[in-house]
Symmetry: D2
Subunit: 363 residues, 4 copies
């Protein structure tokens, strides 16, 4: 767990690569990268040989195919040839144009956390053979995926982040300065953690008292995070293009605490009630941040700095054929949404009871 | 129940009263009425003497205070003095600038249904002493409420509607013409109704197959409707400013069919599977519309014609004092949201278990 | 739908075949058939050629292998050689020692309904290649299954039924006589059915007012029925050996109506509230029974006549091998429970999210 | 948190006061105390002056009214006159005939834990002015409540306990001896506690693998505990007379993990999967017991030693009048169940949405 002060040292990095907005549709605007990246940051899962080897392959490919592109890695040992170490403190001096992650969903959450107080560069995410919610590309397709990026064909899904500030009982901000809001992709969680007792948290929306929660804790989630912890607590599945914040209770001592979907423009305050017997541990995307005592609070709102995630394009993924076929039947064309595929294949959404054939059972 | 053809005769009425957009915030833009209304349509609950008497009072007050305003009533008997009958077919010849409803939530749903294929004039809704989700004003405050409107002080909450078209197996539209989409404030419901058997419905989002639902039915709801039938089926509570469509199953034969919050820009198709043993009755805001047979489908998307609902202003409602007080504590000012009050007082949202005092119990 | 009076004509049939109780454990007592059956009633799914052909095979096998056993069929056309027609009214004159069903879960519900007012003979259920919750035997194994019965090796699971009586506003029983309680295996359902309005039902437990339900309806279910309609409405999964009654609401207008598991000894009354705008359609195991008007009520309690279901024995089912293996690991022996297998394979209970391999996805 | 070894030192105390079984009904048998108590153990909430003063009053009353009865207190300071200190280790030498608790639900859980490995004497529980689920008597009524006990009029509700043993990877029992099962009234909880990662737990029923849970944890609860933590996690409400064990997941990473109601005769094993990244903290009735590492497991079954709770009698509680009235209406007599009253008044069970009168709102 981080100490309180250590949380607030970070200065926002700069992303030099502008994103071109292709349409004016408020949510779900289609965007592409305006120009090819000059610098790439690799972020990978630790202690995994398959991932380390894949990194070497990708780095070698970039060096050969796109000479002149600077390569960085946020770890500092076992660097592949031509890749230099990089840390959050290098953000201004060594701006990043593209992040490439190799690993699981957690690797992308970690990449986002490297840019937790400012703009995030576009993220290209490779899975290592297993699907994930935030993982559009299979590692086998990396040459094509890179080609699309360098030729300006990639589309971007901006995944909302939420920005969180921590406050003392007197309202003053922990960490001192106003521009240190910590941003997360999935959620901020307040949890009783090691306390045997429930905690009491008051939730306010735009300054108005919403409710007093007596529970194991509360989750304030982005639409992206709706398929993470919030889902386990009974929350709905929210499409990443719906500009909103999701409030879901964790094991509330109440029969009537339903999930709330609040406007993306809301400012939400979660305050440990002074009568709470337990404090609340704060987790940011699953990473412990600090412990709030009674009277202390956090304030959360949509961040101005979403994560620009590069979307899978149709050609790179076989099962899109079927989607195409379906669309034709319904008399529609184009588009398609990885999200629909993912909630079905990853979450086994609405797996209807089937009177399966005994044959299957016997296999 | 309406026959199929009778549904599609309606021609959209015209609202002559423009609404001024006060800000550019995509959701929850603050709007006001640009000029005082020249014509008012009364919509009231039927067969209720208290409501009938209130209508007479309001009509008399308008005639005296705002002479020259034309008054209409969508019923044709027992009209108060100076009030003329009006029906949907009069919409073009006798445009309406303001609707005043007297009754419950159902009365507003009915007012919306009078303008189900086009623009709806702003709606001022009076409750008859009981609160309701769509009922900001208590009838006792009607002189002030009218004054605010005629002096241009009222603010408007645009409540999203969804537009629905009905299709035959070959895709052709029932009712014939493309501009007859039926619009609803709460939801479109497909339900097995009188059939003892479950039905099977395929749901598509933007032409992509989302899921096959084996259930009592499906609800496609607006945020406004999230506190109506969808809530009873386990759906989340969605703030009316979140531009989205909510898909909630009714008693699905599945352990894993969670509610989905889809982008407001989605186009959703619900098609009775050809293998479905039961047809599906379609209800629009609780009103039966038609029965879909296997192979037939509906298509739903956000309507371009929301319902402009006149919001309660702070001065007219006592309990706002408390909200004011809370905001001051949290160091915020202004605004306030009836929605927060309503989910607490009307839905008993998150009524925490209390070890109540025996004293209370004994009363 | 049945008329009210037609419901109550039935006279209870007699089962001549005593069941031997092997242990005194109140729930889950192990029982076997005391002597070989002298008469068998076939109940099969209608309009299905595969089922009709299977029936001919089974009937021929019984005639050859167990000569002297009387064979009946509750349908009266297309009877296989040596099989006579039988109807509920023959129950006294032509007692049944064993029921054999061929079809799905619905076929067993139908078999139970043939004996809806009295004792049910033991039931041997064959599935036609698809699994079902109430279907232990695959049709391919019928010679062995019959052999086990005639040699007294079969074990019996007594599935609780609930007995229901229908009452007028003045409390008098519809149908006239006290011994006409209608018994069901799954559940009694009260539903608004064709009414657009919610109904209001008062629930009483042992004469004490429990709650007033404003909803689409209520389900009063046996543990067997807990995996049927009640599950779709959010109810828990109750093991068939737990002597209890399950009350689950259907789409209640309440955030706080959780399922209740009541003692099997309870007497439950469901009464349409006099203020209810809608009546309630009563379904018994999915079969429409009657419509209750405001003031009318039903009374439900555990039936003294459960359904003796013949259990699958270990030798007849391959996948039991795995179960055996697991038990060995946990240091236990014997027994095993089809129920555990069924909730996993049929309901996909707790299908944990898996980051599936792309390989699988690609197939 | 207790160390592992300290858990297993306890030797079961003896209760000298036999309970007479009044009926043979398997669940909900009515029982009474056979003879007046010779010794009473007081258990009270700590650090509460009101409770301390009430204890002095009750102790004085018993000394005067029932001279010769030995009085004990499980705390050893501030003992009222005539009350001696007592601890679990005195259980054999100084047997207890009656426990009197003064405090909340937690005080009864604590009283049960004093007798966690053997028979528990009957418990008479006084609330200090607030209701509780396990608290039938208001402190104001203590003279009558005691009179009923000494004159043999009290009825007893036997609340099931579950007995739990802790096992190492090799199956050997922690603490060494087979008869040290720890018994709880509410539940055994396995929780990830301070770990940021989910744990993986395999659940077995009677040696058969039931499911692999990837979650924050699992709850194995008695019917009594169904209104405690399990309820917060979405579990059903189970009447205390239903002989069963309730398995409820805590925030499972699954859309399809519904609560299971298992037979009271089941033997359930919960084993930390060897692949689990996190261990599991075990809580017994909210009290931390130990931490299980991957491969370690607990085994749970119904305890032979339930908690005999003395029930509120009709005369002592005013609101019973209403219950009486209702019963008369339904044409039934007698009985009545505090449980029905409690789920309504304490849990606000099925608080139907009411369009409340503005008048109320204004108060
Ligand atoms: N009971 C639960 O469900 C809990 C869930 N979490 C979630 O874990 C996240 C942290 O993830 P890791 O660092 O990978 O921890 P982890 O290694 O413990 O894995 C958590 C799981 O969540 C998945 N996941 C992460 N983000 C997701 C998303 N947006 N949609 C769908 N699945 C997603 C991951 O693929 C992984 O399977 C937290 O942000 C929180 O949402 C954390 C604690 C408890
Ligand atoms: N099981 C259920 O919960 C069912 C609910 N309904 C709902 O009833 C609506 C029709 O309403 P009425 O014509 O008044 O029928 P109704 O007179 O049967 O009343 C339905 C109830 O819903 C309330 N309601 C309506 N719209 C609401 C909203 N947006 N938020 C919160 N509460 C709301 C009304 O105040 C009333 O209490 C439908 O649009 C549907 O949403 C319809 C059938 C079943
Ligand atoms: N929304 C829902 O889930 C609804 C469920 N039902 C259920 O259908 C039952 C009648 O069944 P059928 O005549 O076959 O009608 P059906 O042909 O409409 O099938 C209902 C489905 O329920 C399954 N089923 C039946 N009893 C079951 C049990 N005890 N456990 C698990 N699955 C079970 C059947 O295999 C079938 O897949 C009713 O007793 C009721 O429980 C009835 C209406 C709606
Ligand atoms: N998120 C949650 O709901 C959590 C609940 N708990 C529960 O707290 C219990 C321990 O209770 P305390 O020592 O008093 O801790 P506590 O002082 O933290 O209180 C827990 C609350 O649960 C209530 N309670 C206890 N047993 C109950 C029952 N059988 N039915 C209904 N309400 C009940 C108590 O009155 C109190 O309001 C545990 O056995 C566990 O069931 C423990 C942790 C989290």
């Amino acid at each position: 767990m981080l100490g309180r002060t250590s949380l607030f040292k970070y200065r926002p990095p700069v992303c030099s690569l502008p994103i071109r907005r292709l349409s004016n549709h408020p949510s779900g605007a289609v965007k592409t990268l305006k120009k090819p990246p000059n610098s790439i940051l690799f972020v990978k899962k630790r202690n995994d040989d398959v991932v380390a080897s894949a990194l070497r392959d990708v780095a070698a490919h970039v060096r050969e195919t796109y000479p002149g592109v600077q390569l960085f890695h946020e770890q500092d040992s076992n660097l592949p040839i031509g890749v230099e170490p990089w840390s959050s403190s290098d953000a201004r001096s060594r701006p990043i144009d593209l992040i490439i992650t190799l690993g699981g969903d957690g690797t992308i959450l970690h990449a986002s956390s490297l840019f937790k107080t400012g703009v995030v560069p576009p993220v290209l995410s490779f899975s290592m053979g297993t699907l994930g919610f935030l993982l559009p590309f299979n590692i086998d397709t990396f040459p094509q995926a890179l080609d699309e990026i360098f030729t300006g064909k990639s589309e971007i899904l901006e995944r909302m982040r939420i920005a969180c500030t921590f406050h003392r009982q007197d309202g003053s901000e922990m960490g001192g300065s106003a521009n240190t809001a910590w941003q997360v992709m999935n959620e901020v969680t307040l949890h009783r953690g090691r306390s045997p007792h429930l905690n009491i948290i008051d939730a306010y929306v735009d300054g108005q008292h919403l409710t007093e929660a007596v529970s194991d804790g509360l989750i304030l989630s982005t639409p992206t995070g709706s398929t993470a912890y919030s889902l386990s607590c009974g929350g709905p599945i929210v499409h990443p293009s719906v500009h909103s914040l999701l409030l879901t209770p964790i094991c509330p001592r109440s029969l009537s605490f339903r999930s709330l979907v609040l406007p993306g423009s809301s400012r939400i305050t979660l305050k440990i009630n002074r009568g709470s017997r337990a404090p609340a541990e704060v987790s940011m995307d699953g990473q412990e941040a600090c412990i709030l005592q009674p009277g202390e609070f956090i304030t959360v709102e949509a961040s101005p700095h979403p994560v620009p995630c590069i979307k899978r394009s149709a050609d790179l993924f076989t099962s899109r054929r079927d989607a195409e076929k379906e669309r034709t039947i319904m008399g529609e064309k184009g588009g398609g949404d990885d999200w629909v595929r993912d909630i079905n294949s990853l979450l086994q959404f609405n797996a209807t009871f089937k009177n399966k054939h005994l044959a299957t059972e016997r296999l």
